[in-house]
Symmetry: C2
Subunit: 353 residues, 2 copies
Amino acid sequence: MKSITSSSYAVHFNETAYTELNAHLKKANYSKVFILVDENTHNFCLAPFMAEIEGDYDFEIIEIEPGEIYKNIETCTQVWEVLSELDADRKSVLINVGGGVVTDLGGFVASTFKRGIDFINVPTTLLAMVDASVGGKTGVDLGALKNQVGVINQPVMVLVVSSFLQTLEERQLHSGFAEMLKHGLIQDANYWNDLKILNNFTQLDHLIHHSVTIKNKVVLEDPTEQNLRKILNYGHTLGHAVESYFLESPEHELLLHGEAIAAGMILEGFLSHKLTGLPYTELETIKKVFLSRYSKVEFSKNDITEILKLLKFDKKNSHGNINFVLLKKIGEPQIDVKVPQELLEQAFTYYKE
Amino acid sequence: MKSITSSSYAVHFNETAYTELNAHLKKANYSKVFILVDENTHNFCLAPFMAEIEGDYDFEIIEIEPGEIYKNIETCTQVWEVLSELDADRKSVLINVGGGVVTDLGGFVASTFKRGIDFINVPTTLLAMVDASVGGKTGVDLGALKNQVGVINQPVMVLVVSSFLQTLEERQLHSGFAEMLKHGLIQDANYWNDLKILNNFTQLDHLIHHSVTIKNKVVLEDPTEQNLRKILNYGHTLGHAVESYFLESPEHELLLHGEAIAAGMILEGFLSHKLTGLPYTELETIKKVFLSRYSKVEFSKNDITEILKLLKFDKKNSHGNINFVLLKKIGEPQIDVKVPQELLEQAFTYYKE
């Protein structure tokens, strides 16, 4: 499968991935090779990954706790300290093998350790493959605020090895699939039509490649999110608020990222119908597709109030305005839309109907 | 005094500084203006600074504890949290008014908050004016390891207002003066000769301007410290280790940065004499100049052992080698010099003689 070239690096797939990694490690002459994993990827992904590496390097494995609640500055501090203790220097490399928590946090740790060392991302979840693999966003959460601390910085390369998906539960695959559906909604109606009828996840390779291609095109055109790149936030303004709220709220079951933004895409679909002309039939299709794939989230009146309060921390805000990305129709987004408060509440009513 | 243009921004001096700041604030239309101070600059610098700002902006003051021991991730977390609570968004600006702790930490906080907001540095110490004002190094310490976590990122502008120096104790002025002496040693023998006989600090304006010009020329030529920029580390390899050790060691008096690198410049002068041909007479002059201006540091045998252990954390290391910047003669540096362990111990013996 053809590698996808991003700003300063490439995303390599399956058969090509390890060839490119081995060639790079040989050439780069790193002083030490650090591999960041969480408990899950340590158990299920590290051995097959290591088996593909040719040559004798000075390896160190660093393991962090799995899960979004550990994607924070305390975990970063632990990793910075371990890197220091294990004599990492500016010519060391950090290879992040894991889901979005490992690649986002590992990317941030590498970008800030001694003011920046090389890092390589090896996403092992569908979500991380299609979402975190391009764009250079790194970062961690600050309390309930997602990705509040981070930098934009590019990895040396990204390796997408789809056999890692076999280690995932179905629910995790669905979570990543929500981002792929989003790629259709914001850029490619045909892709959306293909995905919405997909009924098994056994042949994802070409779809992953197409999703990475869509995202890469967007981030290359607007790396610093001045305009076009904002479209990737469709479903995320309300979706992130829902996700943050559920993360911090002990009485709720944990929502996966894709599950939260699936709700966000229905909610923002409603706003799109009201404000940017999304046809009602398309709104209904969006709602039907997501509710057939993701359990309906139960929101109490108090939940909604608290979720709407969290909106003010959204990174896209400026000057007190909350800026939404909405849809004019499926495949065609519109950025920087201001939304009146009462419509936000109506969106939840529509979602619950 | 002429502004000095760096990569993407300018350093403005005295009369020009506030004119440029006011013009920028008017144009930039920030959603909010945050000012980071420590307790000292809050008391002594904030009021005169605010008095010069024209126009009515939405200001918030954030105060941190003064001193190098607070230049850490915990303080960053507090500032990130306060920014969040006070509704900072991506169109906010952080103005760092203080010494190197405030500008290094504030630069790092701004560079990583929501993946980067604008920041402006207003150094109020001589050290921060001549050292931290150009180069884009931001960061904090990790335990005893200085600047172990950080990024390279440029401020929007730097304002050097020398009247702030009137708020400083003599000892603080001397600390900054050590960096100016270093600028002479590594790039400009005439400047060194002028500085070494300077006997009061009342007319520093043109000297500050000259030091910033020297440093700026070096960092512009090599922003990512591949080669030339390393020369700025003269005296810092051992100096930082000395400073770190004294910072963490409760039985020792605190050494200021300039005091530690003054010792470092004598120690590395000795290494330069042994390895890169620095004439003995020049070594003796260096020792005499620094010991006449900075108290001799008392090193026990155990101190020296511990200091040498810390060298392995130096950011310039790679592949287990410690790379020194030494002098061929005053005004002419040589980078990437490997130093045998026994010479390091001899250097301390020479220092103590």
